[in-house]
Amino acid sequence: MTMAQAINQALAKEIERDSSVVILGEDIGLNGGVFRATEGLFDKFGPERVIDTPLAESAIIGMSLGMAAFGLRPVAEIQFMGFIYPALNQIISHVARIRNRSRGRYTAPLTIRTPYGAGVRALEHHSESTEALFCQIPGLTVVVPSTPYDAKGLLLASIRSDDPVIFLEPTRLYRAEKQEVPEEGYIVPLRQAQVVQEGTDVTLIAWGAMMDVLKRTAEFAQSSGTSVELLDLKTLCPLDRETILASVRKTGRAVIVHEAPRTCGLGAELAALISEHALLNLEAPVLRVTAPDITVPLAKSEEKYYPQPAQVMQAVDRVMRF
């Protein structure tokens, strides 16, 4: 099944299993969501579990917080990451800190789902990749799946989490790949990165749609005799430091790949983490392959924006030759 179908199945499973789970957002009910991630759920569960809201992002998130105070476990959809910004005040000022402000009396067991990232030739504001904004906010957990299997398991874990989760769904992967996904509910744990391919020479770190770029890079690397280890972060914040450091200590080299702009991107945090804790294991500087610090171009130039395997391969060659 596709990632969109896996997400749909996770939502259906959880609405069925837990009577406190409700989903809300724009066009998610009758229309089934603009990416069809909520298709059929309105018919199956009705308007009290699948709630079409007015077109107001701050309201979707602010109301979700109030619903949580009444014992519900809302899963909110923001139609595109580029439209999440009106809700930032609610996310940063309330969702992330209500547990702290109330000393635990009130919590925000919300999951905020939103499609993100470039690669589907969409209009302006539909290709954003601003995950690092959320990683800077104490209290938020930021999750990105890269496969249908992980999407289902990570989403179930996110909904069940008592902390708020920003769940970023790579737009490009909604229908890119089909994978066998178990029918039953299962959990892919939060805050755990995964080595998806073992190697000995260099660790390539990414998440979401960039995992596909890493896999294609790995094929090039193999033909040139370089053994790469691929690390899928899955949870961007809080980071699974142990898995990241263990891999880099083993290989001695790290290349971080993200489709967000470079400056203050998550790559900067990862490079700092590695230099603070694994400097003496390094054979080469930690390199970043990222989008440039520019506005995402429109469809015609999209491929010039986000990292391509050839660029990642150049970085691999650089750290190997250092």
């Binding site: 701050s58 309201a59 105070a69 519900l72 809302p74 609610q90 547990r99 919590t107």
Partner: protein, 359 residues
Amino acid sequence: MIERFDPLRGERLQILNDAGEARADLDPGLPALTLRRIYSDLVLTRTADIKAFNLQRQGRLGTYASSRGHEGVQVGLASAMVKDDWFFPYFRDLGAYVTLGFPLRNFFLYWMGNEEGMRIPESLRVFTIAIPVGSQILHAVGAGLASNLRKLHRAVLCTFGDGATSEGDFHEGLNAAGVFKTPNVFLCVNNQWAISMPRKRQTASATIAQKAVAYGFPGVQVDGNDVLAVFVAVKEAMEKARTGGGPTLIEAFTYRLADHTTADDATRYRSKADVAEWEKRDPIERFRLYLKAKGFWTEEFEKEVREKSAAAVEKAVEEAEGVPAPALDEIFAYTFKELPPGLAGQLAEAKGAHRGGGR
């Protein structure tokens, strides 16, 4: 009652006039015990408010947003609530807290800069203070929607100032409340000043109450210095909310007698004459005159109320000042349900720095 006062025709609900005389046809006829309790809460609110202000001037309390002049709205709204109702306050609601039974110790503790003060007792259906203006309106609407979805029949009261009506969240919240017909009562405390900006610079509408018309539910303007008018309007709107009648917007017309906060100096932007004019319309004095006319107020009662208030405030301040600042463990503990390993490392690091004398 609410529907009888049309904001579009400039009508305002007032039961007690400036002299404390009640309109007989509108007087809810509350029992002596209730009226005296309301008066005690008004005096206690004023006493605690003055104390907080003085503590700030002495450096014993942080920046404080005074409630002076708002006691009538605050005590009136809270007196109209029943146990199962929910309250989503803004940041200037001392009288509501006092009336609902929020510990005064916590009130002082919070404004002294200790998060422990916002640890709301489980028995109270009160949400935390919201400082970003108007943002709490959406929380209240979400709670109202949840009440509908769970068929709990709870009414949800939310307060905010006139400045908040310029915020997007005010529009988004009231709009959604109208669409979902949520059990919300929106109480705008129109004190005519958002820091330095007068009400007319927030909106070109003649009243705030009339904005409700556009959201598809009733709005009413009440005299905010008239405890009884606030009480009657809120009581009716909350009952309507509980029984599926949907939302109401109440605009309580009052005046901010104090500066915006202790960090503000209102003489820079408004006249002393204006303030003096409103001092004469003090909601507490007006209510006292009403009690007196009813024969429920005596010098002895006054003395008793004042002594009890002073004692309660002194005790609360003493308790609050006795609470130690939160330890490092405490300030890390509520970021996540469980401390992630990376954050545990930062806590250990902070402990090390503080042991080494880093303050």
